[in-house]
C-alpha cells in the first residue's frame, strides 16, 4: 500500500517536474523515507487549506539533502542533523520534529533500565541472556523491523548497530512488534513512542523514561531529529515558503503529533 502511495507520489513529482516549469503552484519535497507519514499528513492538510499540492519523493536523507543543494526540490527532508560540510555548502536545517524510538520489553520482565551501550550489545548478540543484565535467566529474543523501515534505520543508526543486529524476528509493522513482545517474556523490541501501548513495558534509557518532554529536551537519547533542509542564499518560492511557515507553526503541532512524532515547536 505504502509502495503504491509512494509510486503515485513519485509519478506526481515527475509530472510536476515537467509541468511545474511554467506554473509553480506546488511544493516539492525530497528525502528521508522515515518522514513519509508526517510529511504526508502535513501536505494533505496544507493542500486542503490552500489548494497547493505538496509532492514527496522518498529517496532517503542523503539524496534529499543533495536534491535541495542542486535545486531539484524546494525542501529537503533529512532524518539526521546536517553535517558540518553540508552546512558549509550553504544549507540550513530547521528541526521540524523529533522521532523518539522506545525500547520495549514484556511486562513480566524485571529489567527496566538499560544504557545505549547495553542496548547495542544486546542487539549485536554480545549479551544473549537477561540474567547478564539483572533479569531472569532467559534467552533474549530480539525483535526488529524489516530492512528499509525508517524505525529500524533510526534505531540502528542511534545505537550504532547498522548491519550487525542479530534479529530473531523481522516484522513488518509496529503493531506486530508490540504484539510479539507482549506475547514473549524474553523479547525486546523497538517502536515509535507514540504507538506503544500498555501491553508492553517501556524501558528507560540511561535512567530517562521516554516521554514527549524528555525527547524534546534531548535527555532521552534514542531519538533523532526530522530536519527540513533549505538553501541559505536562495529564497523559497512563494508556495514553498507558505508551506514551510505552515508546518513550523504551532497549528501544525497537532498534525505532527498524530503522525507519531514530537513536534519541535
Amino acid at each position: 500500500m505504502k509502495k503504491i502511495v509512494s509510486l503515485a507520489m513519485a509519478a506526481a513529482v515527475l509530472c510536476t517536474a515537467m509541468v511545474g516549469c511554467s506554473e509553480k503552484k506546488s511544493v516539492t519535497t525530497d528525502g528521508s523515507t522515515s518522514m513519509e507519514k508526517v510529511i504526508g499528513a502535513l501536505g494533505e492538510s496544507f493542500e486542503a487549506d490552500t489548494g497547493i499540492t505538496v509532492t514527496y519523493n522518498p529517496t532517503g536523507s542523503g539524496s534529499g539533502i543533495q536534491a535541495v543543494s542542486e535545486g531539484r526540490c524546494d525542501i529537503g527532508l533529512s532524518s539526521r542533523d546536517l553535517k558540518e560540510e553540508e552546512e558549509a555548502e550553504g544549507l540550513v536545517g530547521t528541526v521540524l520534529a523529533y522521532d523518539g524510538i522506545a525500547v520495549i520489553v514484556n511486562p513480566e520482565n524485571p529489567v527496566s533500565d538499560l544504557d545505549v551501550d547495553t542496548i547495542a550489545q544486546i542487539y549485536t548478540g554480545e549479551i544473549t541472556n537477561w540474567s547478564e543484565i539483572g533479569g531472569n535467566d532467559a534467552e533474549i529474543v530480539l525483535i526488529g523491523r524489516e530492512a528499509g523501515s525508517g524505525t529500524r534505520d533510526g534505531f540502528e543508526s542511534i545505537t550504532g548497530t547498522e548491519e550487525m543486529c542479530q534479529y530473531r524476528q523481522e516484522l513488518t509493522s509496529t503493531g506486530d512488534v508490540i504484539t510479539t513482545v507482549s506475547q514473549n517474556p524474553g523479547a525486546v523490541g523497538y517502536a515509535s513512542l507514540a504507538s506503544v501501548k500498555d501491553n508492553v513495558k517501556l524501558v528507560s534509557v540511561n535512567g530517562v523514561t521516554p516521554s514527549e518532554e524528555t525527547i524534546k529536551d534531548g535527555s532521552y537519547v534514542v531519538q533523532r531529529p526530522f530536519v527540513l533542509v533549505t538553501k541559505k542564499d536562495k529564497e523559497l518560492s512563494e508556495s514553498a515558503q507558505d508551506f514551510f511557515d505552515y508546518i513550523t507553526s504551532d497549528d501544525a503541532a497537532e498534525i505532527i503529533a498524530s503522525a507519531g512524532v514530537v513536534a519541535a515547536q
Binding site: 529517496t59 534467552e139 523501515s149 548491519e163 530473531r168 523481522e170 513488518t172 506475547q183
Partner: protein, 288 residues
C-alpha cells in the same frame, strides 16, 4: 433470421473479449515480471543470486543471495505436504466412501468454511496461539519458526486436498467397488485396493494443488515465521520467497526493489512448474 444471427455474433464477440481479458492479464503479468525481474539478476549474476546464502539488501555492501528463501519455501511446502496430505487424503476417503451422508454434509460444510477463512486470520491465530504454544511446548526462546509456518500451511492446504480428492473418489464407478465387494473383499480393502488406485491421478492433482497453495501463501507465513533471512532450520526464524517480496517491498528502492521483482520471477517459475505438473496429472486422469 438475419437479426438473430447478428445478435449471436455480438454475444460471441463479447464472450471472446471477456476471454481475451483473462489471457491479457496473464500475459501482462508475465511480461512485466520478466522485464522487471531480469535486470537485477543480470547485475547480481544468476549464480550469486540463486545460490548466494546471504541476503542483506540495505547493507553498505548489499548481498542478494536468495538460496535461503528458495530452500525455506521448498522445505516449508514439503513439510506442509507431509503433514497435510495424509490427513486430507484420509478425510477424503472417509467422507467419500464410509461416512454417513449427514456426517458428510456437516464435515464438508466445515471444510468449505476452512477454505473461506482469509489467510490473515490464519496468520493472526498462528501469531497469538501457535507461536507462543510452540515456544512453551518445545521450551525454546521464541516460537516464530519454520515449524509454525509448516503447521499453518498444512491446515491451509487441507481444504483443497480434501475437496479435489473427494471429487476424484466420487467419480470411481460404483461397479468397480461392487465387483470387489462381491469377490469377498472387505470395505476397507475395497477402498484402498480399488477406489484409491482408480482415483490416483485425481488425488495426485489434489496434492499438486496443495503444493501450489502452500508455496504461494504470503500473509499467514509472514506473521508466524519471523522473517529473518536465515538458512532454513526447523525452529529458526526463516523467510519464504513470498514473504521476502512482501516484507521489503514497502520501502524498497533501486537494486533492492529490482531484486524483489527477480524473487517474484523465481516464485512465478516455481508456480508455472507446479501448474505444468497439475496439467499433466489432470490429462492423465482423462486418459486413464
Amino acid at each position: 433470421m438475419k437479426k438473430n444471427r447478428l445478435f449471436e455474433n455480438i454475444i460471441h464477440g463479447i464472450f471472446l473479449i471477456l476471454g481475451l481479458i483473462t489471457i491479457g492479464c496473464v500475459l501482462l503479468i508475465t511480461v512485466y515480471l520478466v522485464i522487471s525481474g531480469i535486470p537485477a539478476i543480470r547485475e547480481i549474476g544468476i549464480i550469486d543470486f540463486l545460490f548466494g546464502k546471504k541476503w542483506a539488501s540495505t547493507a553498505e555492501e548489499p548481498a542478494f543471495g536468495i538460496l535461503p528463501f528458495i530452500l525455506t519455501s521448498v522445505y516449508g511446502t514439503a513439510g506442509a505436504i507431509v503433514i497435510g496430505v495424509p490427513i486430507g487424503f484420509m478425510t477424503a476417503v472417509y467422507l467419500s466412501k464410509a461416512a454417513h451422508p449427514k456426517v458428510r454434509t456437516v464435515i464438508e460444510a466445515a471444510v468449505n468454511l476452512l477454505a473461506g477463512i482469509p489467510s490473515v486470520v490464519y496468520g493472526l491465530v498462528g501469531m497469538l496461539v501457535l507461536v507462543p504454544g510452540i515456544r512453551k511446548l518445545f521450551n525454546i526462546p521464541d516460537g516464530a519458526s519454520l515449524f509454525a509456518a509448516i503447521i499453518v500451511l498444512a491446515i491451509m492446504i487441507l481444504p483443497s486436498i480434501i475437496k479435489v480428492s473427494i471429487t476424484a473418489l466420487d467419480a470411481v464407478p460404483k461397479e468397480y467397488e461392487d465387483a470387489s465387494l462381491a469377490l469377498g473383499a472387505t470395505p476397507t480393502e475395497t477402498f484402498f485396493r480399488v477406489s484409491v488406485p482408480t482415483a490416483k491421478s485425481g488425488i495426485a492433482a489434489a496434492v499438486v494443488l496443495g503444493v501450489g497453495r502452500a508455496i504461494g501463501e504470503a500473509m499467514a507465513v509472514m506473521m508466524v515465521s519471523g522473517n529473518v533471512p536465515n538458512m532454513p532450520s526447523l525452529f529458526q526464524s526463516v523467510r519464504f520467497l513470498t514473504t521476502a517480496v512482501a516484507s521489503e517491498m514497502a520501502y524498497s528502492s533501486g537494486l533492492q526493489q529490482q531484486a524483489l521483482f527477480s524473487i517474484a520471477l523465481v516464485l512465478f517459475l516455481f508456480i508455472m512448474l507446479i501448474n505444468a505438473a497439475l496439467n499433466f496429472f489432470l490429462k492423465g486422469n482423462k486418459e486413464g
